[in-house]
Symmetry: C2
Amino acid sequence: MNNKQELRTVWWEDDHVCLIDQRLLPNEEVIVYCQTLTMVAQAIKTMQVRGAPAIGCTAAYGMALVAYQSTANDSDQLMQQLAEAQTTLNAQRPTAVNLAWATRRMMSLAEQIQAQGVAPMREQLLNEAHTILAEDLAMCHAIGAHGAPLIPKRGAVLTHCNAGGLATAGYGTALAPMRTAHAQNRPIHVFVDETRPFLQGARLTAWELHQAEIPLTLITDNMAGYLMRRGDIDCVIVGADRIVANGDVANKIGTYSVAVLAKAHNLPFYVAAPSSTIDLALAHGDLIPIEERSVEEVTHIGTYRIAPEGVQAAHPAFDVTPHELITAIITEQGVIYEPFGAGLQQHAQRLMTPIN
Amino acid sequence: MNNKQELRTVWWEDDHVCLIDQRLLPNEEVIVYCQTLTMVAQAIKTMQVRGAPAIGCTAAYGMALVAYQSTANDSDQLMQQLAEAQTTLNAQRPTAVNLAWATRRMMSLAEQIQAQGVAPMREQLLNEAHTILAEDLAMCHAIGAHGAPLIPKRGAVLTHCNAGGLATAGYGTALAPMRTAHAQNRPIHVFVDETRPFLQGARLTAWELHQAEIPLTLITDNMAGYLMRRGDIDCVIVGADRIVANGDVANKIGTYSVAVLAKAHNLPFYVAAPSSTIDLALAHGDLIPIEERSVEEVTHIGTYRIAPEGVQAAHPAFDVTPHELITAIITEQGVIYEPFGAGLQQHAQRLMTPIN
């Protein structure tokens, strides 16, 4: 990583696409130097990089890498190579919206400047990837700026899963308000749900907060209620995978339980996410399909079996938190309160570079 | 184990104390044959056997084993050997109430019949251990009989931790109503919280329900809210480590969160426990000390590290569920409803062989 205080998930260095191998965290901190498109594609496919914004940035750099390394004689040939790269990259994680969005944006630029020839295309495509990364970081910092004032004075925040710098180009979405408050020298203590079954909290959020020297306490998911009742938590901030028209939010399994607990203890429950996460096509959360993932992630931890052979398990990967349980939604454009409909429409419309 | 359908945690066989090594479940099913007092003491200390009632039965058999193997010339010498065994056994788990209760009960009998001589003492002490085990099983079956009618018709029950046969001589406390309903050929489907950090649900409850051929679905603790909101759960039944005078209940960490979720979804929340668990000395749950256990059980799963080095974690082993969230308390004497005070007093007074 290029700087201990300024986490970067993906970056361009020495003519290569570099990224932190998130599969090995927290036990090993390994940087992957992708020297070919194939390596970039593999990194996306094997989840060395994860999180929609981070995948988008990686894919943009993958396109830039193809242009940078191209020995094409003319721009037609380069366009052909870019189109093939786009197809290759998009195929790695078919459902990742930001991936297709980033490669399309790179292709659009290439088409616009094709007349300028190969050399300018190379340069401008790399610049465009830098821009996509910079926009992502700016988005995260804006969420931090809007969200930090919402954190109560004592600064005890509970979070779930990893909507952190590792899921973006850096800095994060749900973790951004905590980073910003910490940078402002305000007291911050983050209670981190370990987030079974995949343990993104224990593995990733704990790692990046520890790196950033933000005080934290790791807890199992079932301790949140106990800590709230003791008065140890001041507010909850989580990310979102999708925010629909009425303000219902799909996020990692367990988010809904935390929201119910927050309500029962009169604690503010905030969702922090880029406005690209808003999906006005769905009227309410019951319309969001919930992905069922491998039950082996429940019966095993890593390769370690914890349940008897032959036992049935469930693994809904996400749940839906109804808007009644949400105090406010924080995007890079500002803070949206109930009724959420109007604010979400505004933020979705003002989004300059729509991802969908 | 002596019978697939009739789980026994500890039993007497071929002149030895036998028990299931619960540390190895669910991956290995190993029976420990304790041929000496030292082996019985080790089994208690190293948690090959766990759960207060199961420990009590094991300790009683440990005393019986000493008498059975004794080559004492007279009853004074045997009394001396028994007193030493009592000291040894009690020292293995100092806070386990049932352990000291069981060894005291064996000593009391020995004192009463000392005049009869060594041979009758041997025989009657072994019989007394059998009686303690039989009483424990009868207690569990009575909880099952009282609790089964409370399970709604569809039979979808959520449970947390392991208040099962493995924690008792067999059959269990919280699991007893499910076993009884299943034996009555009623539909039963148990949703089993894995119960981080120690995974008693995934390792033990899933194992014993699977053995008993009771349908189950293993879930991570953070899925309970999602399933309740979907309408998949009909009621919750959990065990108790302590029930105080006003009906507040201390139980495994995470129980309180489940109770809040049950309330939010209008689901009955039952506590099933022997009346020996009632502690009228404490007026309410805030007076119950909460044991903080090793944080390594949170940062590791088994020997597998899941969190970064140097990260702080919390590990309250229990939490307190206030009586307002409890629909009813089931003991071997019957079902107690709000206001709990009077019923708890009756059950505590009617307890024939007080543990405290």
